[in-house]
């Protein structure tokens, strides 16, 4: 099943810049993963065409459907058209006024796809005003609530004391994105879908990683509890697992994780966790390692 990632967020939050950054980052990845990017119709079409071609990818411009009935479904038609075209990842840019969870539902409905996370870009400079706006306040709140992982843009333009206030006001895991410098390995599920993909050691000073390898067979029920309770600084986890119920691929983006039955993977368990570097993150990662040893 093709992982489908939704990128939501209001106008001006930098979705297009993030997409271009992701494509540039993918270009560095081994195996040159093929990605399809579906773009909504309100955005200016500024996606770098060369980058798309490099990934043998495809952009599809989505228009908002008919408002009174549902005779037209552009996103659905695009997903139908992409099926069987062996993309390793589909990225859907939700329109600025969309509720991203609604868009992500397509991954649950359309055969051949699985949800791979809701990313929501947040304009750090303007989000506090946007939340108070009488026309879009509720929408901004909903977009933030529905995100698995928030991407904070324009943080560098915010003065220092407002940064902490902002971080404290946000409910979920939030990654800083400066000028579209994003790492596809962190945001997208596709890059580690093969056992031969290397595990990225360090992403930037924003993150700390934990590698975990073991030959032990883990306990499935305890594993599920462990995943549900992953502490908030962990923004990404991935790798393969052997437990007493089978072999699995783990993918987590933000607060969403999935285990998929896996075949043709090496023995044992090999996981990487990526967490935001904050005071206490080192201790948290040691705690995770300890917990993993007890699974």
């Amino acid at each position: 099943m093709t992982p489908l990632t939704v990128l939501g967020g209001y106008l001006g939050a930098g979705k297009t810049t993030i997409i271009n950054g992701l494509l540039a980052s993918l270009a560095q990845a081994t195996g040159n993963p093929r990605i399809a990017v579906l773009i909504n119709d309100f955005g200016a079409i500024n996606i770098d065409a060369k980058l798309i071609r490099k990934h043998q990818g495809r952009t599809v411009e989505l228009t908002s459907g008919c408002v009174c009935c549902d005779i037209q479904d552009d996103l659905g038609s695009a997903l139908d058209a992409l099926r069987g075209a062996s993309f390793e990842q589909v990225l859907v840019e939700a329109s600025g006024v969309a509720y991203p969870a609604k868009v992500a539902n397509y991954a649950l409905t359309w055969p051949g796809y699985r949800p791979a996370g809701i990313l929501v870009a947040v304009d750090a400079l303007n989000v506090e005003d946007q939340k108070k706006d009488k026309f879009i306040g509720h929408l901004i709140d909903a977009q933030i609530t529905e995100a698995d992982l928030l991407l904070l843009t324009k943080l560098d333009q915010l003065d220092c004391n407002h940064r902490q206030t902002l971080r404290d006001s946000l409910p979920t895991r939030a990654v800083r994105v400066d000028h579209g410098c994003v790492d596809a390995d962190i945001l997208l599920a596709a890059t580690l879908s093969r056992p031969d993909s290397p595990v990225v050691k360090d992403h930037s000073d924003q993150f700390r990683t934990l590698d975990y390898q073991s030959d032990r067979i883990l306990d499935h029920d305890r594993l599920l509890t462990f995943l549900d309770e992953l502490p908030e600084p962990v923004v990404r986890a991935k790798g393969w697992i052997h437990d007493n119920q089978g072999a699995w691929w783990l993918q987590s983006v933000g607060k969403r994780w999935t285990l998929e039955p896996a075949t043709a993977i090496p023995d044992g368990t090999n996981l990487v966790f990526i967490a935001l570097a904050k005071p206490g993150t080192g201790a948290m990662l040691s705690g995770l390692k300890h917990a993993l040893q007890g699974l």
Binding site: C66, C69, D70, I71, G76, N105
Partner: protein, 554 residues
């Protein structure tokens, strides 16, 4: 060439909607225009100078200006009309009146009747109008009991969900292996909703949007429009599906000698922008469209924009206190993008028609209009609030002060006020949907539309709702907002003409205007208001040519 002969139509009464001469006894017509409204005696100077004939076929009837629906969607109608209607409310259609099916048994019996009447066992049967409030639960097994092999497709009244039987699943190649465990598709019950609806619809589209089906649907729409007594309609979002395909088909089906009405075409700005690449390119294209006008099909300087979500889906954007269950509506267009587009069309002198359903949508429209008025004042700008579901009295005053018009879908009140009072927003606001008396009191140009297929394309039915405010459960809703029969008649004639920018030519009966009439058996201004919707429509006259209306009955 000899001058065309004058034709004089005497009537029991002529209601002109011209305040300077509200009532008359006859209308004299030359070619497609009225030469005089008055009495046979007052017309004598014309008769002395020109040959004339007296056509007294309408002499026992009442002549009113031809009805105008200033907002419907021929394209959507063309998709819906080939389907079979099985509905909880009555629909008068040219090929028979759909009497209400109010219970689960009545619904299934009617579906079975329709199915049994179709000879070819492989032909799919499309049903539209299911609603759980009246028809209980629906499922694949229930439809299979009627016929498991023939494809049966049941659409919800809102068009936002559907049910398929075994035959339909097979016809559309939808298998359990493929969708059995997917969300928003209930495979055992054949139920497709939300994203799942899109899945089924994409499979159905080759059938329901096939050109021959679409042409058949447009032919049916022609009958429906005539049957409702219209002589003018407006397509209030040309290009909703596909601009070129729609325009081509309209030219083929509507621009014909047997079509007794004209269509004002108002392009959908968002769709144009998407296909032309920018608002500026879309504007240039919109400006060029009148060059393509034909006799019956006319583009002008009107444009359609969208604010908040569909009324039937409770996606209207509301101000405090919102919906009872705490959910929020949706914006179709991001407010900033709406402002951008509005400014471009405003500055180009266009008349903007803004789709608004909730009071927060109205608020956004008002804020933007006020801003544009401040930047670049315009008089007689024709800005129109379309649908106008929920509003506040204060907003009505602001609409008046900013010089805007209202084109309302009053049928919301009839069909939805009871359900919305109980399950949506509470009684107070539900009973004040379509705040029409306030609009008239504030001197706002106020029209009524059907948004067909959202409401029946029957102007007299809309007038009946606006005058009586009695809903489908027979409750009186917001009696203070009832309008008079005369106001209602204005809302479906002269005010509708104003809203679409054609008041100089149509909408009332006076010397010089197009000879467009609707001929009624009874007088709508003196009849019992509860009888308004049942007044038989005898004929229409379009540009001087009579087109009788046959009543068939089922």
């Amino acid at each position: 060439m000899p001058e065309p002969v004058l034709t004089v139509y005497p009537a029991r009464s002529v209601i002109t909607m011209n305040p300077s001469l509200p009532r008359a006894e006859a209308v004299a017509v030359r070619g497609d225009r009225i030469v005089e409204v008055g009495t046979l005696a007052s017309m004598q100077p014309w008769f002395d100078a020109h040959e004339h004939i007296v056509d007294d076929r309408f002499s026992s009837n009442v002549i009113v200006p031809g009805f105008i629906d200033p907002h419907l969607h021929p394209t959507m109608a063309a998709v819906l009309l080939p389907m079979n209607f099985v509905t909880a409310t009555e629909w008068k259609l040219p090929w028979g009146t759909v009497s209400p099916s109010m219970t689960p048994e009545a619904f299934l019996n009617r579906v079975a009747e329709i199915e049994a009447a179709v000879e070819n066992p492989e032909e799919p049967v499309f049903i539209w109008g299911y609603h759980q409030l009246w028809h209980g639960s629906m499922s694949r097994p229930l439809l299979n009991k009627i016929n498991a092999t023939r494809p049966i497709i049941v659409w919800h009244r809102s068009f936002h969900e559907l049910y398929l039987n075994d035959g339909a699943l097979k016809f559309l190649h939808i298998t359990e292996a493929e969708v059995g465990n997917r969300k928003q598709i209930d495979y055992p019950n054949g139920h497709f909703f939300e994203a799942g609806l899109g899945y089924a619809v994409n499979r159905l589209n080759p059938t329901i949007l096939a050109p021959e089906k679409y042409a058949e649907g447009l032919e049916r729409l022609k009958q429906v429009v005539h049957f409702g007594g219209h002589t003018t309609i407006a397509d209030m979002a040309t290009g909703l599906f596909d601009f070129d395909a729609e325009w081509l088909m309209l030219k083929q089906v509507i621009e014909r000698d047997d079509t007794p009405f004209r269509v004002e075409l108002v392009p959908d700005a968002a769709r144009l922008r998407a296909s032309k690449g920018s608002n500026e390119a879309a504007l240039a294209f919109a400006k060029s469209l009148p060059e393509q006008n034909t006799h019956r099909l006319r583009f002008s300087d009107h444009i359609k924009l969208f604010a908040d979500g569909a009324f039937f889906s409770q996606l209207a954007q509301l101000q405090e206190p919102g919906y009872i269950d705490g959910h929020h509506g949706e914006w179709i267009t991001p407010p900033e993008k709406l402002e951008e587009a509005m400014r471009i069309y405003w500055n180009a002198g266009f008349k903007i028609h803004l789709h608004v359903t909730g009071d927060l949508g109205v608020e956004l429209g008002l804020d933007l209009l006020e801003k544009l008025q401040w930047e670049r004042p315009r008089f007689n700008h024709g800005f129109t609030f379309e649908h106008f579901g929920f509003s506040t009295p204060e907003q009505v005053e602001r609409i008046a002060k900013l010089g805007a018009s209202v084109s309302a879908n009053v049928y919301y009140l009839y069909e939805l006020s009871d359900a919305y009072a109980r399950h949506g927003i509470g009684f107070e606001r539900a009973s004040q949907m379509a705040r029409l008396s306030a609009c008239f009191a504030n001197g706002i140009t106020t029209a009524l539309h059907s948004d067909f297929t959202m409401a029946p394309a029957e102007p007299l039915n809309n007038a009946w709702v606006a005058v009586n405010r009695i809903n489908s459960t027979e409750q009186l809703m917001g009696p203070e907002e009832r309008i008079t029969a005369e106001q209602a008649l204005a809302a479906i004639t002269i005010n509708a003409a104003r809203v679409i920018g054609r008041a100089d030519d149509i909408g009332s009966l006076r010397a010089g205007k197009k000879a467009d009439f609707t001929v009624l058996r009874d007088d709508p201004l003196t009849t019992d208001p509860m009888h308004l919707k049942d007044i038989p429509i005898v004929a229409t006259v379009f540009e001087g040519r009579p087109f009788p209306i046959e009543r068939t009955g089922r």
